[in-house]
Amino acid sequence: MANRTEALEQPAAAGARAASLWGDAWRRLIRNRLAVVGGVIVLGLFILLFFGPLIAPYPYQEQHLVELVANGNRPIGPFQGEFLLGTDDLGRDLFSRLLDGAQISMTVALVVQAVVLLIGLPIGAAAAWYGGRVDSYLMRFTDVMYAFPDLLFIILLSVTFRDTAIGGALNGVLLVFIAIGIVSWVGMARLVRGQLLSLKETEFVEAARAIGVSDFRIITRHLLPNALGPMIVAVTLGIPGAILAEATLAYLGIGAQAPRASWGKLVADGQQYLRAEPHLVIFPALVIALALLSFTFLGDGLRDALDPKLKGKQ
């Protein structure tokens, strides 16, 4: 009997504690199956970011020449022998290389979104809060950035700064990340501006002013938490774009340099064997697709979960 009453009381207590906005959102999110699947894969990818090299059966750059020669100097196919996904034309284990690529792609996801937030957030917030001329100047600048052809800008930036310190950092990848971030912040700036524009007219902002809260603190402590939902969604949905941009650039030969390889580079490298050894293209392409889908599903799920209009429903 005692056990039963305990069991009855506990969920009620837990429910009361989790009744916050985030608790609500969390409950809606875990009810969305696609989002959960996406979330689990995303979580797995982030684990690979840190532990990928530990899981990898071989170092990504190690050439297994003996096996390669035994195979008649041709890439070893998948699911045969000791290489799970086969090797490339130089005898390097494809699975290990994909894990290394995961590290690059996940770093893209983080660094690019960090750059996007770092630039987009202050610009959007300043434009919304100060309004008037500040708003006009910042938003016209944003429009100009938006109108600039992305790929051209990234390539120009990469080529121009190739020989500088940033250009060399992280095997040449950091520059690419920053370049992608610089062309991607526009959406975030507009989103933050739009959110804050409607929020700054609310009465709780006036109430915060009435107790003498500073502008900076009103923006950071009172407004941004209210805009956090859409921002989280934008960041999550922005990540596939960044991964894709990195893959595109790698395909064009910009970014991670050999022997490292991002997923896009793997596709580019494998392309020449497309007919004879399609696994060299198929597996990297599959991994890219899976990562993009996962982030998109998670982002969609978050959007639904964090939508204030759905509060209390579902």
Binding site: F204, A210, I211, V213
Partner: protein, 371 residues
């Protein structure tokens, strides 16, 4: 005058450590900082508003929302600002805290002397020291005036942390104490709750706790009960009255409900079309009002001894457009007693029977045609 005396002191103690981290820039700001450091010194009156005009610069023209308004408020006194919608009550209160949205609004002239400090001369940053610390504000709608993403404990403690320099824990203790003071049971447990977990009346109690967090000298309550149902109204008003007595806080109560004003206030300012049209002690206003507009307001109160089925009385017509008001008495188009003189010339506030009882009406002046 107290103000010039204080300022004249050479080498007066400069306050360097202010919890709000505000850089003192102006003379008035220095005076304010001294006042904040030493609570014992006071001016003659808590608040003196002199010839305040607040205009809104809109596309259609300049709206004279508050036009040449003057009034005083003593320490611990409760003053009612009464009038119908759009008569400038709220803008008057917002002007006192310099919270009028700019653009389009701007205080174009006048003086607001709060505790001996001319607040219109303070820099924006210095003004922040005053808001919340010495002036508390209760807004009309508790449903929208609390931040939905912050726990109420945080919102109450914020003011104490900003102004009193309390640590997080000390500010939380203060917030718990305030919550129980405003009548929220299990106050410590409810600190972490969010606004949506409270009812409207409870939220207004939280708003009151926020406004009183730093023990202000003046509490501005802008229609604090309009958004609440009648039974809760009485509780909230009782709470404001008892707490203002306990804290010794002066209150400016903005309301369109004369019943509330009668029960709460020492004095009443009746406002019409951006001007004060009658002012006096609450008894004088209710027993011998001297302005046809005040009669209309009193008349339009529903009464218990009313014949069942009879119509509610109203004041005919609408308040005038506040863009380019003419030279006439602003109530004259709606006034049954208006003479030709009222339509060409606006009367000044002049003395009537009763201490501090002033009215703006030719008809009720000594020798006027209304008796």
């Amino acid at each position: 005058m107290t103000v010039s005396d204080d300022r004249g002191q050479a080498g007066s103690p400069t306050v360097t450590e202010l919890p709000n981290a505000v850089h003192i820039e102006t003379e008035e700001g220095r005076l304010l900082a001294e006042r904040l450091a030493d609570d014992s010194r006071h001016a003659r009156r808590l608040l003196e508003v002199r010839n305040l005009s607040t205009h809104f610069f809109t596309r259609d023209g300049v709206v004279h929302a508050v036009d040449d308004v003057s009034f005083d408020l003593d320490y611990g006194e409760t003053l009612g600002l009464v009038g119908e919608s759009g008569c400038g009550k709220t803008v008057t209160a917002l002007s006192v805290t310099r919270l009028v949205a700019n653009p389009p609004g701007r205080i174009v002239s006048g003086e607001i002397i709060f505790d001996g400090i001319d607040i219109l001369k303070l820099s924006a940053e210095e003004m922040r020291l005053l808001r919340g610390r010495k002036i508390g504000f209760i807004f009309q709608d508790p449903m929208t005036s609390l931040n939905p993403t912050l726990p109420i404990g945080f919102q109450i403690a914020e003011s104490a942390r900003l102004h009193l320099g309390l640590s997080r824990r000390a500010a939380d203790d203060r917030a718990v104490e305030l919550l129980s003071k405003v009548g929220i049971p299990r106050s410590r447990e409810r600190m972490g709750d969010y606004p949506h977990q409270f009812s409207g009346g409870m939220r207004q109690r939280v708003m009151i706790a926020i406004a009183l967090a730093c023990d202000p000298m003046l509490l501005l309550a802008d229609e604090p009960t309009t958004a609440l149902d009648v039974t809760i109204q009485a509780q909230i008003l009782d709470l404001i009255r008892s707490l203002s007595e306990e804290f010794g806080t002066a209150v400016i109560l903005i309301t369109h409900d004369l019943g509330i004003a009668a029960g709460m206030c020492n004095r009443i300012n009746v406002m019409y079309a951006g001007r004060i049209v009658e002012t006096g002690k609450v008894d004088d206003i209710f027993e011998q009002p001297k302005m046809p507009y005040a009669w209309g307001l009193l008349d339009s109160l529903p009464r218990l001894d009313e014949v069942k089925g009879s119509r509610l009385r109203t004041i005919e017509g609408l308040p005038p457009d506040l863009i380019n008001p003419g030279p006439e008495c602003r109530f004259s188009p709606r006034c049954k007693y208006a003479h030709d003189r009222c339509r060409v010339e606006e009367p000044d506030l002049s003395a009537r029977d009763g201490e501090g009882h002033l009215a703006r009406c030719f008809g009720t002046e000594p020798g006027g045609w209304i008796q």
